[in-house]
């Protein structure tokens, strides 16, 4: 294919699952128009361009780079810094890039804890020699290198500046198409905008009408312990649904699958901390007034962090679980 004057577009993935690539492929018939309108210069899942091809480009040569995945390794940092440098517009694509996503649940653990379990303690592992992945492995006077595994998972904008966000795990083809159209037409909103409606999901929810005005929850249910009414608001059935706190734009797909929203679109622009907001909403809706009754009702939420920050722990106000070490340092009179 000859170099064209078409705007250059790059796709890249960091700590991700490939679902975002599928979401792009799920543009289905529309992808043909995209391919027609742009020149894809980098897309590991589908095309054979390499890192050095990227490095060889002039700075800002790429009109838009869509990056998905959280940032977990030094290689990902390097790649997104490279893409940032080569692109006029860096778009965070999907929940992992925007908020840390599912991989950011690992922010509840320390790096050493993760490595030790994965390579040593997991029941499937046999590792009598105590081998761990190494930054550099010698081989015949040469070395084979691995990127550094960071202690924290980060959202993309915690490493490089991001121009726009397309939310979702994964984003819907419709949102992706709308964003690409806006990009190609040069009619993008102010920098930093999340390219999805800035209203919570309830607005799009087909079950909104069945939500009573007063939930007065006595307990939270777990979805497999209750016969779910496929017509009724899930919160009204005691199922923790993140919909009220979560940006819409997904067309309430999980609800249509008769399961609760888990919050992959992240919060609205007015909210700093997705988890804190849904926590406040849920807790306020409880009926009991005594600590014991409250705790009983909340027992149906066995995993607050995993429920409220399913996708957004990295981008939460606290960002990760605090390690035990710092306090101890200080007590020894040795502030970090």
């Amino acid at each position: 294919m000859n170099p064209t004057s078409k705007p250059k577009v790059a796709f890249y993935w960091c700590a991700s699952c490939g679902g975002c690539e599928e979401a792009v492929v799920d543009l289905a018939e529309d992808i043909l128009n995209v391919v027609e309108a742009v020149e894809i210069v980098f897309w590991p899942v589908a095309m054979d361009f390499k890192k050095q091809d990227l490095e060889a480009m002039p700075d800002r040569a790429i009109a838009a780079a869509l990056v998905n995945g959280a940032i977990r390794t030094s290689e990902q940092e390097e790649m997104v810094r490279l893409l940032r440098r080569k692109s006029q517009c860096l778009i965070s694509y999907g929940a992992c890039a925007q908020l840390g996503g599912i991989p950011a649940l690992a922010n509840q653990f320390e790096r050493e804890e993760i490595l030790r379990y994965v390579y040593q303690e997991a029941p499937s592992v046999i590792n009598n020699s105590g081998t761990y992945p190494q930054p550099a492995t010698p081989h015949n006077g040469d070395t084979v290198t691995l990127p550094a595994f960071r202690n924290s998972v980060r959202a993309l904008d915690q490493v490089v500046e991001v121009d726009y966000y397309i939310p979702g795990c994964p984003p819907t083809p419709a949102l992706t198409k709308a964003a690409l159209d806006a990009l190609l037409a040069g009619r993008l909103p102010p920098r930093g905008t999340v390219l999805a409606p800035d209203v919570a999901l309830c607005e799009q929810c087909p079950r909104l009408e069945s939500k009573p005005k007063d939930l007065s929850l006595d307990a939270f249910q777990r979805p497999h312990r209750t016969a779910l009414d496929p017509e009724k608001c899930l919160l009204a059935q005691g199922i923790p649904c993140m919909g009220p706190a979560t940006r819409s734009g997904c067309e309430a797909l999980c609800i249509k699958g008769n399961m609760a929203c888990t919050g992959c679109f992240g919060p609205t622009s007015r909210v700093l901390d997705h988890g804190a907001k849904i926590l406040s909403c849920f807790a306020s809706a409880l009926a009991p007034k005594e600590p014991q009754g409250i705790d009983q009702a909340l027992a149906g939420l066995p995993d607050p962090v995993g429920t409220f920050y399913r996708y957004s722990l990295a981008r939460s106000l606290l960002r990760r679980k605090r390690g035990p070490s710092q306090t101890q340092h200080f007590i020894r009179g040795n502030p970090p």
């Binding site: 991700s16 690539e21 043909l32 899942v45 054979d48 390499k50 081989h139 008769n258 399961m259």
Partner: protein, 369 residues
Amino acid sequence: MSVATPILPMREASGASSAGLHRPRRVTIDPITRLEGHGKIEIFLDEKGNVERAFMQVPELRGFEVFSRGRPAEDMPQITSRICGVCPTAHHLASTKTLDDLYQVEPPPAARKIRELVYNTFMLEDHALHFFVLGGPDFVVGPDAPPQQRNIVGLIQKVGLDAGRKVIGMRRRLRDLIAYFGGKVVHPVLGLPGGVSKALSPQDLPGFQQLAQDSLEFALWTLQVFKQAVLANPEYVKLITAEAYTHKTCYMGMVDEQDKVNFYDGKLRVVDAGGREVCRFAARQYLDHIAEHVEPWSYVKFPYLKDRGWKGFVEGVDTSIYSVAPLARLNAATGMATPPGPGGLRGILHDPGGETGPPHTGQPLGANY
């Protein structure tokens, strides 16, 4: 992360084309492309330019086995699907079946059928993805085509826009079916212990039946494309069956009571490179049969047959390495459970090699078809 890795020979690596003059000792392929997952390959060459050693590295770790701990069991189908967004349905249903086992519940027949329908649909659309988008361009566009064209775009140019639309349209319809039950097609939500979250409305059934017919036709058409693009080309056949692309490992696949292929349920059966059964076990016994080995140069661990012990990256009848995925699945089974379609697939793959044993996983040429 699939074990099968569609990389083509030397031509791929930069600098390797100026053959003979300054042949580099080391060839780096970064990133590996057209597969799901992150990878990098380091190849070390000897003085003659032959591969002395190659490292297929996965430079990434997310730690699902750690951060899944302590979470409500029922969240697992949705969390584990994020291991892979290309095959989320596989992880989702594996987790869901684990929940059945955990809660000791048997899903009612309708729920089981819905799960099977979703999973089989996924198998179909996922293979279409692989064939046309990930692996296929190597053949359809051709191994000699410039790398910039060996992709879906090039493939559509080659097969024509109508054929391209046909592939895209069929995948969309299949994926819509998954979304019908799963809410989302990438990271579906239908799995619950003992069942599924959503039922099938009777009025939607005829549409799905039509889709089944259409997808059968599509599969046959795809087979035709494969036959024309690959099997009709003696050079390709030679390539597929060449010693260099043959990988003699053990093979694992899921089988039913009669050792026929089953995608959704059954026992895991492992055969060796000679076709002899090594073991046959239920998924919940996997720890008795499978172990993981750690290497310092990759974040990914290497599963192997525990009984045989880690023997290193060696091939042959005695290796403890096993392959999975389509070809391995066929190898591990004695046949398909359904009547063979016109020009049965197994025959096609068997014949070119003309061997009596199982066909072995060519890299990448046979494994994923």
